[in-house]
């Protein structure tokens, strides 16, 4: 079986790995790169627990072939931490008890972050639609939606402050 050599950028770091051409980005991230934040819930695009960004766009890594990410920018939940500091969304998920088993959490964080980058002050309805591709079997959605609302407020406050400076 021939394999493909993939050179890509993951969370800002250049990475190279070889894999079979039919391998998904989900499997390569977990088993070759060692980034286990991406989870496999369904493997068929329904649950969103494998969510990543590719060149800034949100997608399911279970529906991307690793061969496709050659030369592109991949973002995972591990990249949300900056200088050892949790992202405001991560803090808010903890503060608002928006997780139980945590399997769905990285996917929700990535999806919520993609939403806030595009729309810094979403309504509750917008949040619910934007997170429709992410399933949670334990927590229920209200706490997750609340955590995103609180984080978006925090982030807007912060960006105002940095603008003033």
């Amino acid at each position: 079986m021939s394999s493909v050599l993939v050179s890509t950028t993951i969370n800002g770091d250049p990475i190279e790995f070889a894999c079979p051409p039919e391998e998904t980005l989900l499997d390569s991230l977990r088993d070759r790169v060692g980034l286990t934040g991406v989870k496999e819930g369904c493997g068929t695009g329904d649950c969103g627990s494998c969510s990543v960004t590719l060149d800034g766009r949100l997608m399911c890594s279970c529906l991307v072939l690793s061969a496709e990410v050659e030369g592109r920018q991949v973002g995972t939940v591990e990249g949300m931490v900056e200088n050892g500091q949790l992202h405001p969304l991560q803090e808010s998920f903890i503060d608002n008890a928006a997780l139980q088993c945590g399997i769905c959490t990285p996917g929700f964080l990535i999806a919520a972050n993609a939403l806030l980058e595009r729309n810094p002050s979403p309504t509750e309805k917008e949040i619910r639609y934007a997170l429709a591709g992410n399933l949670c079997r334990c927590t229920g959605y209200d706490k997750i939606v609340r955590a995103v609302q609180v984080a978006s407020k925090e982030m807007r406050k912060k960006s105002k402050k940095t603008k003033k400076k």
């Binding site: 039919e22 493997g43 695009g45 949100l58 061969a67 496709e68 429709a132 591709g133 992410n134």
Partner: protein
């Protein structure tokens, strides 16, 4: 399995032509990778079309607009011009899956997967869209309604690839709309759907195309429904005739998501509602 990412459509078609085993085009992969995961497709060759410039472009000319085969639903939804001229086509495509799926799913993949419930297809057919089909030796232009021949079946030859979808030029007094019925608000497959496209002249419907989805083995164009509203101001009588023509054209399945009786009735209801939206968008009162 081999993976190829050619730079031209002709090269893609040539890869398909030369492959002796099972060869598949990869656009967004939201159908293909699911089928691979479930063991329903076992490709020997996958040809990724996303490195082909013509597949990624949206362009406009004197005859209309052209949308490349690899343009995602998200990119389509971000295109202000198309949202204005063909809101129904854009809405239908944007209904496909979640934000994650939208970043990848294409109209052409939706078409070639050939599901009777594919959301973008009735809207494209109503719009009079055409597919630019490129083979290893020749190219042809085919109306969308001629591509899908049955569930999972298309009229494309083994070496043919769709390079782009064309939408005709649009006058001011024109509008389109697409509605689907699903039991949830997101992430579900259409039980019934309807696409309507019409133009007006002095407030009266001049031309119309009406297409239903999920009520037959393929999306179906319903000329009798168009006839029912042409020459009218979409009064109640015309709308009732339109609904009756749509219901009469249905040949649906009975399953847990909807009975035959239910689908037949809802087809008429959705077509009426979509027609009203299209009429309003065309400036009708």
């Amino acid at each position: 399995m081999r993976y190829e990412a050619p730079k031209t459509t002709k090269e893609a078609a040539t890869f398909l032509k030369k492959e002796k085993g099972a060869a598949f085009i990869l656009a967004g992969g939201t159908d293909l990778l699911v089928k691979m995961k479930l063991g329903l497709s076992e490709p020997d060759l996958v040809v990724d079309i996303k490195k082909i410039p013509a597949m990624n472009a949206i362009s406009h000319s004197a005859t209309g607009s052209k949308i490349g085969g690899a343009v995602s639903g998200a990119e389509l939804g971000e295109h202000k011009g198309l949202c204005k001229t063909w809101p129904g086509v854009v809405e239908a495509t944007n209904l496909i899956g979640s934000d994650q799926i939208q970043s990848r799913a294409t109209m052409v993949g939706n078409l070639c997967n050939a599901s009777p419930a594919a959301d973008s297809v009735p809207a494209m057919i109503a719009a009079g869209a055409k597919a630019i089909v490129v083979g290893s030796t020749k190219r042809r232009t085919v109306p969308i309604e001629k591509i899908v021949t049955g569930p999972g079946q298309t009229s494309l030859a083994d070496d043919e690839v769709i390079e782009a979808i064309t939408l005709p030029k649009r006058g001011k007094k024109a509008g389109d709309a697409y509605l689907r019925f699903i039991p949830r608000t997101e992430m579900d497959i259409a039980v019934v759907s309807a696409g309507v496209n019409l133009t007006l002249e002095r407030g009266v419907v001049k031309t119309a195309r009406i297409c239903l989805g999920a009520v037959a083995p393929t999306a179906i164009l319903v000329p009798a429904a168009a006839k029912a509203i042409i020459g009218t101001k979409l009064d109640d009588e015309a709308l009732e005739k339109l609904a009756a023509a749509c219901s009469a054209a249905c040949n649906p399945i009975d399953d847990k998501r909807g009975t035959i009786e239910y689908r037949v009735r809802v087809a008429g209801v959705l077509a009426k509602r979509a027609a009203k939206i299209a009429f309003q968008r065309a400036g009708g009162v």
